[in-house]
Symmetry: C3
Subunit: 332 residues, 3 copies
């Protein structure tokens, strides 16, 4: 499965509004900004005594996880429930397909049950696009991570966190550190940062953890923390995807930490008011020193809070875009 050349043909409706949320590729600055603004309004809901809005009341959201991830599934489940949706959690690897049913048949069945939204996590790049290609107009697809391709809600919660702390994207230098090669998050982040207009996106990694086409994504490549972190505003540490590594691309965790782990010492290369981000779960002492993860420049827990708000934002926007598309298509 490969993702299509024109993702927006799929993910935008005829009015140019989101109706699926598959990738940041092709989304313009106005759309990303609208997502961030909508998420900001949901941050306020999370701080209320009654953390619920009726935007998805009577809608059925199915968490279709072909790859287990309790953490990501929980954030989507909470986001959907706070939007008042009914939620059905399906771990597809252990259900229907084990009875020999094809993916396509499973999806058509869920559609026929009048589901309104599938939140899809899959180990294969492009799976959410494939599903979005085939579903009826009454279902919206939200990409919750597909292979090495994208994890667009993670990237958008990172953008929200940067905007909260830095006010704007203009003039910022952002460094992404670690295993770029295996990271679906990094690709989405690079796309979002460039679209939102930062001054410079840097990646800091050993050559073995960089994709071959990396410079074409619009980044500067650094191989040492000293050079790469010099005077940056934002440091995004990636999780070392041990479970994704095939073969011996790394000498050892210890050596990785020596070279690329974010320590108090290395943090001093960055600006004094720089912020430190990590998508979690943290491997303390591998990617990051505990003193930094828990230190005053860390905004890691803000990212988690923002994750709920961003997921509420894209779910409510996609549902609204779906409804508009259906109305437009219905003859008077």
């Amino acid at each position: 499965m490969a993702h299509p050349k024109e993702p927006n043909r799929l993910q935008l409706n005829d009015q140019g509004r989101l109706r699926h949320f598959l990738t940041l590729d092709g989304l313009d600055r106005a759309t990303l900004t609208e997502i961030l603004d909508t998420a900001d309004s949901f941050i306020e809901v999370g701080a209320r005594s009654i953390k619920k809005v009726p935007l998805l009341r009577g809608k059925t959201v199915v968490n279709l996880f072909f790859e287990a991830s309790t953490r990501t599934r929980s954030t989507f489940e909470l986001a959907a429930k706070r939007l008042s949706a009914d939620v059905l959690n399906l771990n597809i690897s252990t259900s229907a397909t084990s009875k020999g049913e094809s993916l396509s048949d499973t999806l058509q069945n869920l559609e026929a049950m009048a589901s309104d939204m599938f939140v899809v996590r899959h180990s294969q790049s492009g799976a959410p696009h494939f599903i979005a290609e085939s579903v009826t107009p009454n279902v919206s697809i939200i990409n919750a991570g597909d292979g090495r391709h994208a994890h667009p809600t993670q990237a958008m919660l990172d953008m929200l966190t940067i905007r909260q702390h830095k006010g704007a994207f203009e003039g910022l230098t952002v460094a992404i550190v670690g295993d770029i090669l295996h990271s679906r998050v990094a690709r989405s982040q690079i796309r979002a940062l460039n679209t939102l207009g930062v001054s410079e996106v840097r990646v800091i990694a050993p050559n073995t953890l960089l994709p071959v086409d990396i410079e074409s994504l619009g980044v500067s490549v650094f191989s040492t923390m000293k050079e790469g972190l010099d005077a940056v505003d934002v440091i995004i540490m990636l999780r070392l995807q041990k479970e994704r590594m095939e073969g011996a691309l790394l000498p050892s965790e210890h050596e990785f930490y020596e070279l690329y782990g974010l320590t108090t010492e290395k943090l001093e290369y960055a600006k004094p008011d720089s912020i430190v981000m990590h998508p979690g779960p943290i491997n303390r002492g591998v990617e990051i020193e505990s003193a930094v993860a828990d230190g005053p420049q860390s905004v890691i827990l803000n990212q988690v809070t923002n994750g709920i708000a961003v997921r509420m934002a894209v779910m409510s926007m996609a549902m609204s875009g779906q409804t508009a598309a259906i109305s437009a298509a219905t003859p008077e």
Copy 2:
């Protein structure tokens, strides 16, 4: 466990209304028609923007699955949530009974938690009857499939699908094809079709996949598709229950397909406006050719949609019958 001779003593209240839903045996045409009419009203709910009615608000529905079935459990879960019930999913095989507790104690505990309805799936024929015998008047039992005995909501969703497409049951010839022997669905379907007044129910199967008492159920038996499908209005394909087969009743999947698989070619024996049904999940190329499953005569996905509506119907009717029975039994 055997099911009782007079199921209606259990499943109807003193006013003759459903208060459990265990089997179609003994239910008269008026009751089946009421289920179909009620389901029709819920079809409309599934098409609304807010797919929710408050009929079971504040009620607790427990999905008691002694046999795993993600698909069936999901449809009951969605049906209950769209009726606004609180839902508790219990996979009994993996919980209390593993601590050495008896089934009866588990059930009494769930009753004591003020549960209002148990949706029961069990590999033993008669288990839902057994449970209905023992529960308090405050709990309704819905049979979600028991052994080889019955799967009455599946049969009723099939009836709803037939009525939607054919308008009425009078004058119809219906063929049920495949593994009748191991199918709890087939028994329920035959019962329902005869009660609702079709002209003829046919079964088409090799002798090895027919129960010995089959003709007593009111069917004509055919051993070839050519004869059995001749001029029928409705074709119901059964799922080849591979996991239920013990021993070698079938030569091979390939040979089965040659003889009983529904292909474009064999479909021509039936009336041109005949409809094709299958309970899912489909084994493409075993029971049915893909071109037929996805073709213009297939109503397989309508069956799925109708499944939610029928489950909402029997759940709301049983709850209403339970409430009426309790009021009638309460002294002024």
Copy 3:
């Protein structure tokens, strides 16, 4: 992990109201009575047609089970749903920590998702205290059983059951029978009974199933049923925690039943109007004879019903105490 010397520093707010519910140690009679009175009001909710109150609407309750217990988890899930909360079930042993994340990081993440309450079950004594020490003011912890230490909601549902049947605690003699050593319930029960003012708490057990410090808890120790049950008002049987036993502390289940199993015969030592309790699941023929478990003096199923009401009570009280504490701490 050990529990702190002053649990109330943690579990009461500055106004002396519950804001966590960790242990009965240190809670005074007025507080226990308030829990029982609040639970009484929820008993009435469980008998209503619509079993729901909006006290926790828009709140997020996370069932954090580090030790599997379908039964206990189900009662908390139902209690939370009847209070209108959104519920997230997490079986922690199988999720984030398997990715190498520390407990503390998992908790901080859940807090950052704006969770309002963690219901914690853990095999280590003191784990809920440890968690309560570290969480933000916006989260309340409810202890759903920790190691051998405490199971305070179980003890309070037992107190509610005793008060329902005996009217008051004054003048009562209560015997607790069985494996005191491995029972987290027994410790909580002894504490509650003494605080609520019963005349005498007895424990009946072989020496091998008694903790060394047992008399310091304020109980009389008996080694035979004949002496221990003499003229008691309440008999609390404990579950034989087979899965907790290490080594051969018991000769055999059969011998245990001979000596300490509650039979019709031994029940006659107690007062004629004595009540029989058991936390479930029951091992019939090991701790208790079926005729007694199902007999007229048994209130075992009342305990289950009361379990939902007590859990609703402590959850709503802790949430209210949390809110009051946050308001008090907020500058005008």
